[in-house]
């Protein structure tokens, strides 16, 4: 590393990169289309509290009480019930995934209720995806009062007089809408995909096109090349954040509270961390294919361990540690915190330094692995 940083050389490379970004229609399309598409796709598609699940009713009597219970189930919004003809049909439906629940009404149900025998209704559930049926099964607990209007007072469910009660106060997202959790997360995910993947290709592209040999033969320093390759995408990343936030606010009703200026700063650092990672892959990889594979390798943990898809607190301790390393985990908390909870700098700072540390470490690795010769 002879000679220091030259601002003029850095500007030269920056100018060149900027022209190249502008001239590449694919990159430009990705920059705009990717966030918009993903936002619409995931914003509308991802729902952790699914309703209207297909359920089948197996019954011999089709009695009065049964009708009341079926109506009550339908009214929860979780069940979409149709009557089945045979147990074989029920089995087939569950196996093929056309039914998630089968309600088995025992014979003589009404009579058993009237006698006070407290009969059981067997609910077969397809539990392959626990998240899919979670809401629906939770709703069952409240349905034991479904027959109260039909029954004489002596048979009604008698609410136990509890010595104390819980009052749930769902804050920040009182209607508990999944979309308000997903959209802030999407800001981070889209930024990761668009910035990391694009820079991942930046240096390998020069190597593959043969322009790297020339670049190496010229008096540019690695730091100048890397900064110049990264900075256009910080600008682009900010453009994407703006686009996503505007759409999220207008289309999905995402509240924009909290200290937005600090959010901008934090997201800038998050973008930088992605770019540092991308450019590290780019210097290590021998070709674009390898670079893409490395990026994909980190994308999956970013989605799964960060708390974007699954609750962070639900993960085992070691997975939480792994998640804490990823910048996206902290970025997610910052974005959700600011937008949904109205957080400010005091809550942001503890999440900011891990991103800064990650960026620094990865940046140093990138600088060190930048090959100045063709050996």
């Amino acid at each position: 590393m002879i000679g220091g940083f030259s601002f003029r050389r850095f500007l030269a490379v920056l100018r060149k990169e900027w022209i190249q970004v502008r001239r590449d229609p694919l990159t430009l399309q990705m920059i705009i289309a990717l966030p918009v598409m993903q936002l619409f796709l995931f914003g509308f598609a991802i729902n952790t509290d699914p309703k209207h699940l297909p359920a089948g009713l197996l019954s011999v009597d089709h009695s009065r009480y049964e009708r009341s219970i079926v109506a009550a189930l339908q009214n929860t919004g979780y069940y979409e019930i149709r009557t089945l003809d045979s147990e074989a049909e029920a089995e087939r439906g569950l196996a093929q995934g056309q039914l998630l629940f089968v309600i088995n009404m025992p014979a003589g149900f009404d009579r058993a209720v009237d006698r006070g025998e407290r009969p059981m209704i067997l609910m077969d559930a397809d539990a392959t995806d626990p998240a899919a049926i979670g809401g629906a099964t939770a709703a069952l607990a409240a349905l034991t009062t479904a027959l109260d209007r039909d029954l004489p007072a002596s048979l009604r469910s008698t609410p136990a007089i509890a010595p104390f009660r819980f009052a749930l106060h769902p804050r920040y997202n009182p209607e508990q809408l999944t979309v308000l959790n997903i959209v802030p997360g999407l800001i981070c995910v889209v930024l990761t995909i668009s910035t990391m993947f694009v820079t991942t290709l930046s240096i390998t592209r020069e190597t593959e096109r043969g322009t790297m040999e020339n670049l190496l033969a010229m008096p540019v320093r690695p730091i100048e090349v890397m900064l110049a390759k990264v900075i256009p995408y910080i600008v682009i990343g900010y453009g994407q954040v703006m686009l996503i936030m505007v759409i999220a606010a207008i289309v999905f009703g995402l509240p924009l509270r909290g200290e937005i200026s600090w959010l901008w700063l934090a997201l800038g650092l998050f973008i930088a961390s992605n770019l540092a990672l991308g450019i590290t892959f780019s210097t290590i990889a021998r070709n674009q294919m390898q670079a893409i594979q490395m990026a994909q390798f980190t994308l999956l943990p970013s989605l799964l361990l960060s708390g974007f898809m699954f609750p962070f607190q639900g993960m085992p301790r070691w997975a939480q540690w792994a998640g804490e390393i990823l910048p996206i985990t902290h970025a997610l908390r910052i974005v959700r915190g600011v937008l949904l909870k109205g957080n400010g700098i005091a809550e942001i700072l503890p999440e900011l330094w891990p991103i800064a540390l990650f960026t620094l470490v990865v940046g140093v690795i990138a600088m060190r692995s930048y090959r100045e010769t063709l050996d």
Partner: protein, 299 residues
């Protein structure tokens, strides 16, 4: 310090393959030195070692008086290196590519330097064309323009005219001679014999070692190669028979003439005597004859 390049006993291996194997070379300032040799003979690696892109395993020397092991960064500022493969940005225009080079070399008179160089290389009317849309010959010109933009003292050109038509090649070499006349030293590798003949000196590499070097005349004169040429009919058949004859290294038909070459004069005489229908006469060897002779020689 008179020599632009002065290196001794350079070695470079990739794995177990010795690419450059004890190469020593001195090129005086202002000379056009031609680098010749088969593919894989170590030309590109030698050129890359000269401009610091590849580190030699052992050996050393100077380039423009600067140590090639230590001063690679300073050497890069004073050397114009033209890669074998076109290595400028195809999605930038001619002018933008040159402007980039001028800016990276921190020239104060950037716009002027770019304009002057484009005028000189005849690139002015293509200034706003994308480099990727240029034909082979124009790409080479752009590459050369980019090499001389920062007024280097030494040009290292790696097969600059590969795949370029004869007229463009001729013009390219006219430019090289103009530059040499201004005091620039040029080291250029090539596979074309007409280009080798235009060099002040040629250096022939084989398996990473210099086999022959000298002026083109000295190389042809000192080769010891004997050639006989015959005209007549049935040349193709005669050529086939002569290729099998002892002492005949090559027998090739050029239009209406058959030429045989070898080192052993007596053996060649015996071979010509065996074909009494043809009238033979001795001719001086050309550079091409000499190189085919060198290429065919076991290492």
């Amino acid at each position: 310090m008179n020599a632009a390049i002065n290196i001794s006993d350079l070695h470079k291996s990739y794995g177990r393959r010795k690419v450059v194997d004890g190469l020593s070379l001195t090129v005086p300032t202002g000379e056009i030195c031609g680098f010749l040799g088969a593919n894989g003979s170590g030309k590109t690696t030698t050129i890359r070692m000269l401009c610091g892109l590849v580190k030699p395993d052992s050996g050393g020397g100077t380039c423009l008086g600067l140590d090639i092991m230590r001063d690679a960064a300073q050497i890069r500022r004073q050397v114009g290196y033209m890669t074998q493969r076109f290595s400028f940005y195809e999605d930038l225009t001619v002018a933008e590519n040159l402007d980039f080079v001028a800016a990276v070399f921190e020239r104060d008179d950037r716009a002027e330097a770019v304009r002057d160089t484009m005028d000189r290389m005849g690139l002015a009317e293509r200034a706003h064309q994308l480099a990727g849309q240029l034909s082979g010959g124009w790409k080479q010109r752009l590459a050369l323009a980019a090499c001389i933009l920062h007024r280097p003292k030494l040009l290292l050109l790696d097969e600059p005219t590969a795949g370029v038509d004869a007229k463009a090649r001729r013009e390219f070499w006219d430019l090289l001679h103009d530059l040499a006349a201004e005091g620039l030293t040029v080291l250029v590798s090539t596979h074309y014999m007409d280009e080798a003949a235009r060099c002040g000196r040629i250096v022939y590499l084989s398996d990473g070692r210099i086999v022959v070097q000298g002026t083109p005349d000295a190389v042809t004169g000192g080769s010891g190669l004997v050639l006989f040429e015959a005209t007549g009919t049935g040349l193709d058949l005669a050529a086939r028979a002569l290729r099998a004859a002892a002492g005949v290294e090559s027998a090739a038909v050029f239009g209406t003439a058959l030429r045989i070459a070898g080192i052993d004069r007596a053996a060649l005489h015996a071979a010509t005597d065996a074909t009494p229908d043809l009238i033979w006469q001795e001719v001086p060897p050309t550079l091409e004859d000499v190189f085919i002779h060198l290429l065919g020689r076991p290492a």
